[in-house]
């Protein structure tokens, strides 16, 4: 004989501590809780509005440089350390939590062109217009001791870019050639050149660590394998790329910042067509850096703004600018995915939040739940016109706004001309209808 009794799990009604909120049993019957869609809609609306209200991305400005900031480097092991090099050859080490400069080095004569921290975080390299590569200790020297590099290599030509291998003691520089250096040697172990050109930047692939890519002045992006004696391939675009950045989670994607105001995400296996064209800037894009999650990247532009793009979207999700920020030369995304740092012409380094409305600091459980719920609501109702309008609204400085407008008009005019004049009056099939992705690649050289 089976006797059924009511049994309840004490977890359902017993509080863990007396400070817990009493659990109120609820009836989820939809008839008792009607109007779910309208109610959630209002909630979504409120969440969106709140997000805009709370969106205050600018955290701090680090001033101290006496010339324009030309390059920055993230510390590989410490989140709170940032290095920056200025156009007067000064290198500064910043403490981001305290917003102060901890160390200043007169590293080079002329520009500091590039900096990179060694993977172990004990030393960093800098290159400058004085044709030298200098290795510096990360720790500051004792009081009264002069700042001296651990190592100095004098090159034959000016170096313009620098990057370090993810795991080995090798680094790459670029100037008139792309050179691979062993840390122990004063001559490059390998140097690549393909035609006569000068390079503006070189970057190691952080995932497939033997691969490199560089941007050349002949409007091309060249791929290399450190182990090979030859470059792998290059793609020539309509305009020059300034820098590029590899996706740290997806080994075959990289994004390049182009002079034609756009950014292009490429799959390195298929260079014939970029995967995505990111277009929102209204002036040349000078720098780009991926978020460590590989889902987004930040770009710095000559138009005095930085933008954050989801990697698969054509348009940016965020634009940051301040009144005083001039042409942004360099930008970095912090290794914990929370901050963005930008260095600009007016000698300042700025610290931004990666998510403008995100609350920093420790969140209570309920805060977290609420944030998640709000985020979900925003996602759910993102297509509704009212919500969309609020969520997408950004204030822009006048020059960017007008220029953006101008660019849309110009683009439309160009399109119209192409379709109505060129295409219509040429032999059918002679002028193909090109998609945006196909327009910007001139050739792929094998």
């Amino acid at each position: 004989m089976k006797v059924k009794v009511l049994s309840r799990n004490p977890d359902d009604y017993v509080r863990e501590t007396k400070y817990d909120i009493q659990r109120v049993p609820r009836n989820y019957d939809p008839t008792l809780n009607p109007f779910e869609v309208p109610r959630e809609y209002t909630r979504a609306m409120n969440a969106t509005k709140l997000e805009r209200v709370l969106a205050k991305p600018f955290l701090a400005s680090l001033d101290g440089h006496r010339d324009a900031v030309n390059c920055m480097a993230k510390h590989s092991t410490s989140l709170s350390t940032l290095l920056s090099g200025a156009c007067d050859g000064e290198v500064k080490v910043w403490n981001l939590t305290k917003h102060n400069c901890v160390r200043t080095i007169q590293a080079h004569e002329g520009f500091v062109r590039g900096m990179v921290v060694r993977f172990c975080g004990t030393s960093f390299y800098s290159i400058g217009d004085d044709k030298t590569i200098k290795q510096w200790n990360m720790e500051a020297p004792g009081y009264g001791v002069e700042e001296e590099p651990i190592n100095t290599i004098l090159g034959k030509t000016v170096f313009t870019g620098l990057d370090h291998h993810q795991k080995n003691g090798t680094f790459a520089t670029c100037g008139q050639t792309v050179d691979i250096w062993d840390e122990q040697r004063s001559t490059p172990i390998r140097s690549f050149s393909w035609g006569v050109e000068s390079f503006s930047s070189v970057r190691f692939n952080p995932v497939e660590t033997e691969l490199l890519a560089s941007c050349a002045s002949d409007r091309s992006i060249v791929l290399y394998d450190m182990r090979e004696s030859m470059p792998l391939k290059k793609v020539i675009m309509t305009m020059r790329s300034n820098t590029l950045s590899w996706n740290p989670m997806e080994a075959f994607y990289f994004t390049c910042a182009n002079e034609d105001y756009n950014l292009y995400t490429y799959d390195m296996r298929y260079l014939e067509k970029p995967v995505t064209v990111h277009m929102d800037h209204v002036s040349a894009v000078l720098d780009v850096d991926y978020s460590p999650t590989g889902r987004e990247f930040v770009s710095a532009s000559f138009d005095k703004s930085i933008r954050i793009f989801p990697k698969e979207n054509r348009n940016s999700r965020e634009v940051y600018h301040t009144k005083r920020m001039q042409h942004v030369v360099c930008v970095k995304w912090s290794a914990d995915n929370k901050y963005v740092m930008s260095g600009s012409d007016e000698m300042n380094i700025r610290l931004w939040k990666a998510n403008a409305a995100e609350k920093l600091g420790v969140l209570s459980h309920r805060e977290k739940l609420a944030a998640n719920y709000n985020q979900k609501l925003k996602e759910k109702f993102q297509y509704h016109p009212k919500v969309k309008r609020i969520a997408r609204h950004r204030h822009l400085p006048k020059h960017i706004f007008t220029e953006a407008k101008e660019h849309t008009v110009m683009r439309e005019a160009r399109r119209r001309k192409y379709v109505n004049n060129v295409r219509k009056h040429s032999k059918p099939g002679a002028v193909p209808m090109l998609s945006e992705r196909e327009k910007h690649v001139v050739a792929v050289v094998k």
């Binding site: 989820y28 939809p30 809780n33 779910e36 869609v37 109610r39 959630e40 809609y41 909630r43 092991t77 989140l79 993810q166 952080p206 995932v207 497939e208 033997e210 691969l211 791929l223 394998d225 090979e228 004696s229 030859m230 470059p231 792998l232 391939k233 740290p248 989670m249 997806e250 080994a251 075959f252 390195m268 296996r269 460590p292 999650t293 889902r295 290794a335 914990d336 995915n337 929370k338 420790v362 739940l369 998640n372 719920y373 985020q375 979900k376 609501l377 759910k380 297509y383 509704h384 016109p385 009212k386 094998k446």
Partner: protein
Amino acid sequence: MAKILKKNKVSTKGTKKTLNKNTGTEKTPEKSSSAKRRERKRKTVGKLKGTLKTTKKSPIEKLDLDNVDEDELLNEGEEIIPSEDEGGSDDDRKHQKLLEAISALGGKKKRRLAERSEATIQISEFSVDAKGEGEKINLSDLIQTIAKTPAVSAQTKSHLKKLKLEEKTVDSPLTKPETERIQRNVAFQKSSEEVSRWQSIVKQNLKAEQLVFPLNQEAPGPKPLEQVVCGWKARTPLEQEIFRLLSVNKQPINDPVLTPIEEESLKAMSLEDAKIRRAELQKARALQSYYEAKARRERSIKSKKYHKVQNKAKRKEFVKKFDEMLKSDPVSALEELQKLELGRMKERMSLKHQNSGKWAKSKAIMAKYDDGARKAMQQQLEVNKDLTQKLATTLSDEEGEDDGETSEPDMLPDFVNEVEPGQDPANPWMRGQLSKDPVDLTEPSVPETAAAVLISEDEEEGPEETEEEGLLRGFAERRKQRQEQEAENEAAKNQDMEVMTEENKAGAEKAVASHDAADADIADDDEEEEEELSKFTNLFQELKDSRMEAEASAMVAEVSEPECAQLQQAMFRIKSLEDMDLLDQEEQADPAEPNAEAPQPAPLESKGADKKRKRKRGIDLAEVLTKEATVINVPLAPTAVEGAEGAAHGQEEQRDVIKEAFAGDDVISDFLKDKRREEEAGRPKVVDLTLPGWGEWGGQGLQPSKKKRRRFRLKTAPPPPRKDGGLASVIISEKRDSSVSMHQVGALPHPFLLPEQFEVTMRAPVGATWNTRQAVKKITMPKIVTKVGAIIQPMSRDDLLKHSRKQEEEGTAGEPKKRKAPQRKRSQKRHKKTKN
């Protein structure tokens, strides 16, 4: 001379040996370098011999030649040495010269290179041999040699020729840019392949519901002790003491902390496994209880018919299983057979179904007047008969062989015959089929109509059984035909037999006799033979049994059976050409019969058929539709015409299709109706607010006054004129509300393909007001979670390795799941069967 000869003799022995040896080496398949060399020498020697043979065959020469050979062998020299013995005696040289001259006369002249083979005193400083030492050299001699030697040797010529024929020139090396391009291409291919390894992990991360960065974090919670303890050493005396104790007791101290047994026990069953196992057990238990309950329920059912049907189904099942068993393991099949036999024995011993009990006797009295009682008795008998049915009959394959003698069917077993050997034909109980006698006794006058009804009932009950019946009947038919055929054949054969020689006849007779003996044996001891029944016979026995039942149940109505059999003749499968032939014959034979017998059951059946038709009909279009549908002539030709006809035809076809599709409905009138309906809906309605009884007398049959009605019937103001008022062929909906549309999504957003999908996602609430806590947690889970203050390293090769390993594991884990699936299916099937 004699001396030389002696020497030669001695040497010949050696040479002979070596020659033999040489021949030996020639035969052996593997040829070492020395062996080859030797062979070459042998050939040259052979050639020399040939030349000698052409001239003279003196023993000396032979010896000479042999000597040469030996010398060479001893020296392992590279070249052939002309025969030249010690001293350089004049005689010998002259002879040699003569030989040369003679050989020069003959067609081809072999040029021999002279070489010194022995140490001599007269060694010229130009390393010319001492051959023509004492002689003067004439100019003519020198010229002669020049004339004889060709400018280029034949060997080199042939080499050149070969080279010319081959004409393989090495390609000129590629230009530098080209080689570089190739190198680049190769390198790129390699690196792109390398990079492509990440594809799967990238995809997986994209699809992941949630990604927590940094990706490869150590699991939170307590770490295993081994890791923590690893670098730790006992320092204090207390610790040392403890460790000493531990080591004395053979407890693991450092690495690993767990004893092997403990570790094993930990590994033995993971929580998941345990859960799965428990779930399985639970399921099994539930199923068992379910089956038990079902069985109990079934047992408590009192309906006899139900049980009958059940039994029938079971028996069928059993037959099927038995067939399978015969194929799979005949041993167990045999056991099964024996069991049946035992059952039969028991039945024979008991009086259970013999209609001899009290009940049966009472029924027997009633049987005359009561159909039910009769039937019950009949059933009893039937059961008895079934149970006492002899399982096997005497039969073996040997019987089949002597068809000429016994005129029995060679293919079919005996029991298919009506007359069953080994059983007493006089005893009706022992027969496979209930004879008509008892029926006649119990029910002398059965109305045929009732019988017919019974048949129809039976047929409705079990259409399955007829199949077997049909099969058997088919066999019977075929057997008869074959017998006829064979009768003819026999006649022919007999004629042939006469031609045969007597010896043959005798032999044949012997064989026949032996067969006969065997037959007799078989007939005698059927019990022994029963155990060795072939598959075939068993099968037929089963089939026959089932047929018996069917026949018994439908026994009363045997009148209509032949007709039935005729109809079902086509039901057996045609498997061979013979069958086809037989079929033809049957068809020839048949046609008259069904015509003759068809009308009899027709009226009876027609009633039922009518009823069925009525039941099945459902909706009659003519009844439902008041308006007559226009009749369309649909072309009988297939709509899809292949190939040849061109586009014009296609167009026509298209039009036809459209016409066909829209032929039935009157589109225009429908549209107009719709429009009118829309207009009606938009028109203002009169609202009647009159309340009977207010201010007036109320009650049955009293209407509120006109005045009141006028006052309380409200007419709303007419709406603005419709936009589509002047447009005959347009309906413009005016339902759209601009105040609401502000909040509505205008176009279907990107990821959605159907408006329904979008609506569904919108309709499902995500908040805690409508969902449980867990559900909300799951729904609102963010896609990417990053920890504050944790550095997210780029993906490394270890991740790739881990990923691939995990995938492999999943792959291996996936297989057993797949394996499980069919099992479940099978169990379901079983389930269904039991339900039936």
